[in-house]
Symmetry: C2
């Protein structure tokens, strides 16, 4: 049970966290801050937060739990804004989709206090954003990746783990580097590819006509292309090295298929499609979400 959550960033991710914590009876009050005052006000009107803070620093004041639910590119400036009120009794977490850059920023800004910070990435999200879409059930049944570093305090890590488990999450721990490699492959590259595919079609003279004939397969494939542009801009740049590696892997796999198609090598083409089809047919979204 926490006395006070200091919520910095009252969007979809932050707002849903506050609502989930409240629903689980794990927090007494939520003090929230968003860059846009109208978002902060809306969060209070919706009951997502109890008190509006006029600054990130004041949202942290008196908190024993702090969630940084801001774009990954804003983590460093946010930590700078709050560092004077960080104390050893706090647990600070983020929800960013890339972790090495977040950890690097935390080391730079928090220095010897970095142990209170537990880097988190909940594998949850939607194609809509904003506090109006905040949902107490967003995290339930989802995986959450914690990426502690050598200086992370065991007590803070234990507390973070227990908290997410209490929200119904399956908690996984790994290094920030392993996290970024995995998510470049299964999340960041698919988003990049989906953005590229939409732009590839709409950039053609007949693109709109083509789109009018697209069916349910296209609908599901392209769904993630509607994701929040600012958030994805930041994630793609933050994790650009791993994403570059994944783009190369993908290029090779696509070129291999394209070569077999162009040269009419039906047997080998079927073998490779078969491999993809089997891999996908045997895959299931994380066990906790079953």
């Amino acid at each position: 049970m926490f006395e006070q959550l200091g919520l910095i960033g009252c969007g979809l991710m932050g707002g849903s966290f506050a609502l989930a914590l409240k629903r689980a009876g794990l927090v007494r009050r939520v003090v929230g801050y968003s860059k846009s005052p109208s978002t902060t006000e809306r969060a209070r009107q919706l009951g997502v937060i109890d008190i509006e803070a006029p600054s990130a620093l004041l949202a942290v004041s008196g908190a024993d739990l702090v969630l940084l639910a801001v774009p990954v590119a804003a983590i460093e400036s946010t930590l700078k804004a709050i560092r004077h009120l960080i104390d050893p009794n706090m647990l600070i977490m983020d929800v960013g989709s890339s972790k090495r850059d977040v950890v690097d920023a935390a080391r730079r800004v928090l220095k010897q206090d970095v142990g209170v910070f537990v880097p988190c990435h909940p594998i949850a999200g939607r194609e809509v954003s904003g506090v109006d879409n905040a949902d107490a059930g967003l995290y339930g049944g989802r995986q959450i990746i914690l990426t502690p570093i050598d200086r992370t305090l065991t007590t803070k890590l234990d507390k973070a783990r227990a908290l997410w488990q209490a929200l119904g999450c399956e908690v996984i721990e790994m290094s920030p580097e392993a996290h970024d490699a995995a998510f470049a492959a299964v999340s960041h590259l698919p988003h990049l590819v989906a953005f590229a595919l939409m732009n590839s079609i709409t950039g053609q003279a007949d693109g709109q006509s083509y789109l009018s004939m697209a069916g349910p397969g296209f609908r599901d494939f392209s769904r993630i292309a509607a994701s929040d542009p600012q958030m994805w801009r930041d994630v793609l740049i933050a994790n650009r090295e791993e994403i570059g590696r994944q783009v190369e892997h993908f290029h090779r796999a696509l070129e291999e298929l394209q070569h077999l198609i162009a040269t009419g090598q039906t047997d080998e083409l079927e073998r490779l499609i078969n491999r993809a089809s089997h891999a996908r047919a045997n895959w299931r979204v994380s066990p906790s979400a079953r």
Copy 2:
């Protein structure tokens, strides 16, 4: 109302068509043939067909409606097998995902009789195949593309249009060439990309571990990778020229994004993601499926 449907290919597409026709009371009996005798037998057991035919030719005998629900690569040999029993009272249709190669095959085999053949592509399907998954509702609310050629008889085209409309489809007509260009963009390329992405991940040493962390975005994006390998092998090869063009468009769009990421051009990157996100957010699957 048709007296007898000659169904060649009793899989998902063919079986669903037979069931839909029966449910709508549009056919008196269905005579079916599949390459595998066990499939034909299963189709009869399930009530998808009424009579098992021992050959494609005998499935056509006495039919006033014939559906070729075989892979596009098998259209030519199937037409050859049945041409001696084709008569002017028949309406013959296919359900292939590529149309230029199908039309070419029909011209070659049927010659002066090609007018009874109406090339069709229903924008419907599932990631499971086989007669056990046949579903009378598969086509309802979906688009169907008819790609008549100059020699297609108006009476046959009218009959085909009325038939699909009676099954609840929205009927669209265009040339085989326009069809193949559009579906290379919105269906064939996405499938190719999804296959490549699965193979790209599973081909890496940590691929299985990466997959275990994939979330709902990946689930939807990769769903079409589980599609039927034989069918997609044939479609990709049949429409390879248009697909080659779409791969080039896509390569350029991906490289443009990748360049902006690698060089940290945040504003331009956000602008391009924004374009993709808006295009996708404003898109809806065909009006008839709303």
